[in-house]
Symmetry: C3
Amino acid sequence: MTQMTDVSMSDEVATALAQGRAVVALESTIISHGMPWPRNADVAMQVEQAVRDQGAVPATIAVIEGQLCAGLTPDQVERLAKDTGVVKAASRDLGACIVKGLTAGTTVSATMRIAALAGIGVFATGGIGGVHRGDGMDVSADLTELACTDVLVVCAGVKSILDIPRTIEALETLRVPVAVYGADEFPAFYTAQSGVTAGERFDDARDIAAVWAANRAVGLGTGMLVANPIPAEHALDAREIGATIDAALAAADAQGVSGKDVTPFLLGRLNAVTEGKALGANIELVLNNARLAGRIAVAAVG
Amino acid sequence: MTQMTDVSMSDEVATALAQGRAVVALESTIISHGMPWPRNADVAMQVEQAVRDQGAVPATIAVIEGQLCAGLTPDQVERLAKDTGVVKAASRDLGACIVKGLTAGTTVSATMRIAALAGIGVFATGGIGGVHRGDGMDVSADLTELACTDVLVVCAGVKSILDIPRTIEALETLRVPVAVYGADEFPAFYTAQSGVTAGERFDDARDIAAVWAANRAVGLGTGMLVANPIPAEHALDAREIGATIDAALAAADAQGVSGKDVTPFLLGRLNAVTEGKALGANIELVLNNARLAGRIAVAAVG
Amino acid sequence: MTQMTDVSMSDEVATALAQGRAVVALESTIISHGMPWPRNADVAMQVEQAVRDQGAVPATIAVIEGQLCAGLTPDQVERLAKDTGVVKAASRDLGACIVKGLTAGTTVSATMRIAALAGIGVFATGGIGGVHRGDGMDVSADLTELACTDVLVVCAGVKSILDIPRTIEALETLRVPVAVYGADEFPAFYTAQSGVTAGERFDDARDIAAVWAANRAVGLGTGMLVANPIPAEHALDAREIGATIDAALAAADAQGVSGKDVTPFLLGRLNAVTEGKALGANIELVLNNARLAGRIAVAAVG
Ligand SMILES: [Mn+2]
Ligand SMILES: [Mn+2]
Ligand SMILES: [Mn+2]
């Protein structure tokens, strides 16, 4: 039997888990690759506070010098936020990060994997990966991790630059349960409306926690996705942001930007065109997800 | 460790499983969504009798007021057959059904999941889901459940409105063993001929039971598909039914029927055009599958 | 609990495993279906010797009269090499082979499955299956086996007739870690250059063994792919072999060759056009992979 890797936990996280109290995992590519310094470090602290405000303990997850970590010190957050040598790790990259002693921000798949190792069942992020627009065979490993790792992920939808209907179809094929919080329509990251109905609607975090427990008990073996629409007061104009994304995708294509460079390129572009409104909305939806994840985690242990 | 959900079993099913006797799982969307009342209730009883005639115990599977059930009372069958509030549940929907206390007919994926929880290894249905025609990225969760849940499924092929060659390809990719009973060609639901050769041919139910045991023992971790051609005397004319399906698909498209509404729309249409012959063939192939599943289940415990 | 199938091992393999010494699994379709007699038997012996030269024990894997075997006698190798009744088995075919008492060369998926049953963690082959050119929905079960069976596979890339970028994309989606040995570029079987950068570069077999152990310890549940470029002195001219493959694929299409017949047809054609240089390169890259696998296996137990 393979011995599983130890996850290095902060005292706060270790104590909460030992006592059976609510813990919420948080990802770190938003710190290392998602926002400019020093905004990224500030936001990381605000997101942790949003979890605490609901009575749960935040466990920001990352790889620090080859060590899987759940619960970071302010110094570690600053390092992720500032250091240009920080890489981006998906779940399949973790072994190489450990051996090479790398420091990495963890994507949704890697954060789910480390959360599962640490015994943390609820995780908040901004948006998950999915099926790429135009190329339906380019599919994020986030979906595969959701299909095989039993962690509940709260998001505001799939990343805005992806194909929403195809991603929803893939989640159905992969048997990943989808819940939508307080709405009938699946949200579209910067806006609440995607035009697609998908998943079961729930208006109470306690019901979501109960469904999560029931899904585990029927032996699905999957995670669960909770889609939490961005609050109306922070949502962007659907038509405007849609056109901006289309233009940014065309620009990426024209400039030959590909692979891992596409997402940062597009985010930079969206931000420039919207004069920072895209970044502001992104921060608000992450905070909103952290609050809902906190409530679900509290209900799950209650 | 998560405690698995209890499946509520009829005394007959519970006793048979406790004594190591042959049990065959049966699905219930055929009752709740597949046929009109009162034919659906009659057929459900005939299918159970077909299993009994082979010396096995039938376990019709459904969700009744949020309780997973294997082995239904006549009252429960009638409720599934008549009540318009009955939903359709795939495996990923079971958690929500439990929490909401819903009554649901179970699709192939959900029936496999509940059968696995109850310890039932053989299951008979009409046709399984697969890859949709025209949109190869729209793939039924039935295939994913077959890829990860060790239940043997006896069917007459894939649902007639799907893409047979692509579904066979997907089963190969997913490592799901396919056996064809008494024929070289993979069957096409309403007819025995699909024009596609796929899977190993077996002419004896005992050999299929032996292969099923061998597949489990090599640790595949998948289910197994047994394709059982509709008997010649009940088969429809291949060219006629093919043209009818094509026309029905075009009509669905023209009328904007989509998602979960497509299958009932098409079945209704096929039935109307064939003046009930499609429904008659459907019933005969289900009975034929129940008989073969009964023989396989008896061989498996023998 | 299902009892797993016993794998019949040679004394050498059984002793090495019992003593915790390095063992390398080898596949056998290269013997049964990959090369003409008597070259195939000679090469099988050379490949075993290449593993031994690194201090590891070779375990050639096949099914002999329905028995899963790891470590073959010279007679068994000769039988695989000469007998025209030998079939080709993927992992999902193993149950039928056992029940029917067949003798089979094992593909990458079946070899991985049997290696896992036998407790062998490192495996050398020529090229793995992947996504077919032209039809992105025709995907080899090798990729699914890599996604769910924890065996490390050393290859010289994907089979030359497949779509390399799409296969690399699928490995990323499926969360299969990819290491490239001694190069930045993912190799293209007959040549070292594919034009695609993918996976982590490692220059030391011990680092690959360490990453492999780390991947297992994070609970990925997948295998791992090590791409080992063909040595420059044995590589074919990239442009020439590319054009030859394109012509051979067109010929297969024109002559209506399909399914399992495509690979042997193409290999025969490549060989004829290159006057045996394709076969020579194939042999050299398999030997090269056996040596690297031997070093990784030694490092893994060291
Ligand atoms: Mn991708
Ligand atoms: Mn679908
Ligand atoms: Mn194929």
